[in-house]
Symmetry: D3
Subunit: 252 residues, 6 copies
């Protein structure tokens, strides 16, 4: 297949799906955003709790903490997904994803500047069409940055604890061809599947990649990382535009 | 306080909050609606599963089933509400509410006409400001009716199994005065708190009322039921208008 | 069916089953009573714990608390009911009932006068024949009142914290006819089923009523409430007689 | 202390507490008995379920099964004991006891003669004053034998599957002195504590004995077994008398 | 069968399997030993935690505590045994065994001399061939004694809190013949099965014996206790030899 | 720090810790190996179960399955780690690791050739000193290959279902310097931490890398991957040598 062939939804190989951020979707949260990567839509919220986890107090660790929870709403998939609370425990995939979201945001966050607060990140998938974890990270940063601004404006913290922004995107090899931002149809046929998390300044935060009952070469790895970097620049720019507009609105 | 005094949000004693239904908020569900009773907003979805619960098969009960799940999203309240899945079990209040939603919809549903299917109702509170259970019932009927229409259109069931529509509203006595559709501020001061579930044709489905560490008289009960009946007529009419417009759209 | 027709157990429509209270059935409890509504028999106990729940301390709420637990013993039904502890969680019905018992007793209890104590109510159904929740409430008040007297006599609390007594009864419409205090056979055929909780002075505490996959009119509601009020007067009188005799015995 | 000194409740060293069996305390069970060893009172019930556990079907084991559950009711102790269902799991002591009850009854039961049925034994402690497990075994046999008779009378099984009766008693060394059937006060001071299960014909079924953070000699063991054997003869005789009277009543 | 007939593995009736202790198998534990009773192999470890259980603090009990956990590794049996963590709870047998291990070690331990520490005993079965509980107790004592020596050497406790050593062995009646230290093949055919726990000085700590759906006489009991006593002398001597060599090594 | 400086344990930057495989440590498993990466030691076992998971049967997926479980034994760390079964659930880290082990082995396994069997991999950490997940994967392949050979020899499967071998190693940046196979001391100071899984033929299977509350550049990524590739060649060779020797032994 030539590189110029369009994908099933008419995208180029290196083209993101339409990206949108709807700010303030959960008014009771300190910050919130409904992020869309095409048909994948995730409610991201950030809330502050004025205490830190027990293990920090026990170990005498100073500063704040950020923790994330991820869940697929039952109606996010065509076949209803039963709730974790009905099954009595989180499934392994949800555990992995919420740990990834937490690490990604903590990588750009100066926990000392949070004070003795916990920043709770919640990502609930409203509609799932591939890439829910990368959309979650990308939206969670926007929600968290909005929440942090509210805390600054309320003089609950002295300055912005975020050193940088953070976003994430998936890349993969489908029928031998490297593609950016896979949707569900592409994802389930992918031979190799990567999630790349990067800061606004272009540093890697996390790389997770695996062959799906398959393996991959050093060359394939390089082409995927190049593709991801391209997409992440765009995502990062859209986060900045969204936040600039939102913060302008709230402070003006 | 005279009956004509306006409430803290400028409503009359017998006035509902602004009611809205946003259809199709969860596109992967068979039917869905985001219902708003003022600042209370609930995502309601209805999905079909082509099998019935184990106890029905074991007892040889014919026909279908409807089951409901209710949850408050962590960011629906000003203080973050921890997830049921984190605590490993549903709290008692959620159990009560989801059983009420299930009974209310089954009261107007001919289960035989569902075939051997389970209709799953999910109500997730996005923003909580009092009356989440009544908004859930009212929105769930809309989502369920839309789902049922899709099944009819797809010829998976022969005819509409709903005998009637169903809606719910809260009423209460606040500082001695009977009020319709309490918001959170009113609810927490209420001496008496009722939830009334009624069909579109004006029959009662369920009445649940209690003094909050208090008691009430027969006269107070009557005035509350009158107030509820008034509100339920309006809610029922708005459900019909919403459904008429939505079904027109999808079938035309 | 004419109003004068006798029921399957030879009762009139407005007649309670034989009511009995056996005091002191659980001698290690502070107060206890085995209550019988005909063949429905429930062990009710009340015990004091000299501390309050965590949420009260955290929220700085003063006074005491009352909490209730309800369980059906495995041999209370003809088909053995498996224990909640075997299933690892309470079923929804038990959760609903124990919350109702707790609310009903708190409605007539001045929590401030309890001091920093929790009054634990336990209701274990020894034999189930319909109306286990109403028998539980009615018996639990007797057990709780006895327990409270012991605390007063031991000078652990200064005065009786109960403002009033409380009792409960079921009413329902069976084959179109309003009946008082349904047994199991009547209950499973009932079109409409109400539980009414009332104080000794005739004020309502809680009304819960639902059509069983059916609906009901305003007129039916009124006739059911009248029937319930009749029965509750008798129950209340029997509680008083029982307590008068028991308290006389223990203090003389 | 000389062997003739009376115990704190005026018993001789080799004297049982007053033993009673109240038949039929749980009328919905197939067989039931409220057994009293002094102030220790246990509700014992036996119910039949017309199927066998999954592991028996999987392993192709023929015949029936007997399984036991043991629980202390919350009001059986002076300090309220929280329910297993509230804690979400059985405590270790309850697990041990219910396994002991099950083994003890299976030792005298011909499982082949039960057919493909499970005999469920439930023992709920109403009042705890030491020896709840031995009272449970002794009462459970009575309940089970009554249940079995009902099955024979109903021609659901052809003959009595019990080869023998079974009873249990505790013995212990308190302040150096071997005592029969310890109550709670004695039990908590005992240096050595034994539970002995024996058939009506005088064969051992199970012996469980331990020093309580202490040890014991061969001679002490022998004196305890002699004491237990004496008590078990009396218990066995009382079971027979009780059953003879009960079965006479039901069949005449 | 004559007493001189060899067993299926060429042992005499009163002969133990080959006993081995491999010291230090888990270097991060305070003390550890891999104990072998023939093909039964158990990893035993002892670790100190500088606090006591909540119930001790609440009840104001002085001194330390010892607690034991027992688990069969999934690959210890020919058919893989699923993990307790996968099933979400301990099975009844594991609960019984870990309580037995704990009691056995506490019987020879002066808890006061432990200070406010908990000694955690872990027994994980690497290979199961009968007698895992008796091997666990025997190995756990060795691990615990080694751990205690480290605490003494580090001056964390002033002196050895063990009053005596402790070991355990199984005995049983197989095809009418009393045998010492049953392996799996013998155990599953045993009519009577005893576990005997004894101190180094020859005092009993615990006796647990039961007929396997069978019963036993006083004479059979005596012959089993004699056999056990013989085996326990050997086990005790081997513990002492092992510890003498190990403590010599570590302190020299 | 110059590249030639030795590490705290005298290793070069690109040097593995001493690697060892002890074959047959769990004789009841189909295949087993105790793998050591220096002081990190993991018991790896592989067992066959002649059925596939429920979801495969439901979805009609052909062939076999491989599933992995990972656990840290309580005595693997200097501070005792409480068991998952005591806490009632797996922690998030264990879930992540066991999913990684499973994916890594499935990437080189032809599931069709397994027949309708599940290959269970168990990895229990006996001693933890960094790199437990990479040691687990490396040891699990050896255990699985041994198990598969037994199945072939027993003619339960016709040919070797492994297409290739698989091994894993960690690499990281510690104080600015890329290091191979981090031990615990290095790992807790690492700025960047990668786990790389690779086949014997040099293809990537999985790459997981993250800054520890930090970020990393493209150049750092490349140097880490080069380092990992070096180490993985050695590990792969040692696996082959171990297997060649073991298979020779068992078949000769």
């Amino acid at each position: 297949m030539s590189a110029s062939t369009l994908r099933h939804d008419q995208r180029q190989a290196d083209q993101l799906r339409p990206i949108q951020f709807e700010i303030g979707v959960a008014p009771n949260a300190t910050g919130s955003a409904l992020v869309s990567f095409g048909q994948t839509r995730v409610i991201c919220s950030a809330m502050i709790e004025p205490k830190v986890p027990g293990w920090m107090r026990q170990q005498g660790v100073k500063g704040g903490w950020l923790t994330a929870e991820y869940s697929m709403l039952p109606y996010s998939t065509l076949d209803r997904k039963s709730r974790d609370s009905s099954r009595g425990k989180l499934d392994g995939r949800s555990v992995e994803i919420q740990r990834l979201i937490g690490r990604s945001l903590r990588a750009v966050l100066d926990l000392d500047k949070l004070g003795e607060n916990t920043l709770w990140i919640d990502c609930d998938v409203l509609q799932a069409d591939g890439g829910t974890r990368t959309a979650s990270i990308t939206g969670a940063y926007v929600a968290a940055r909005l929440a942090v601004q509210k805390l600054i404006d309320a003089k609950r913290i002295p300055e912005n604890p975020f050193r940088d922004s953070v976003a994430a995107v998936s890349v993969g090899i489908v029928k031998g061809r490297p593609l950016l931002d896979l949707d569900y149809l592409e994802d389930k046929d992918a031979e190799v599947d990567f999630n790349v998390v990067m800061t606004g300044s272009g540093q890697f935060v996390e790389i997770q990649g695996a062959g799906e009952e398959a393996t991959f070469t050093h060359e394939q790895l390089q082409s995927l990382l190049t593709l991801a970097t391209t997409g992440l620049k765009t995502l990062s720019a859209q986060q900045q535009t969204t936040l600039a507009r939102a913060l302008l609105t709230t402070t003006s």
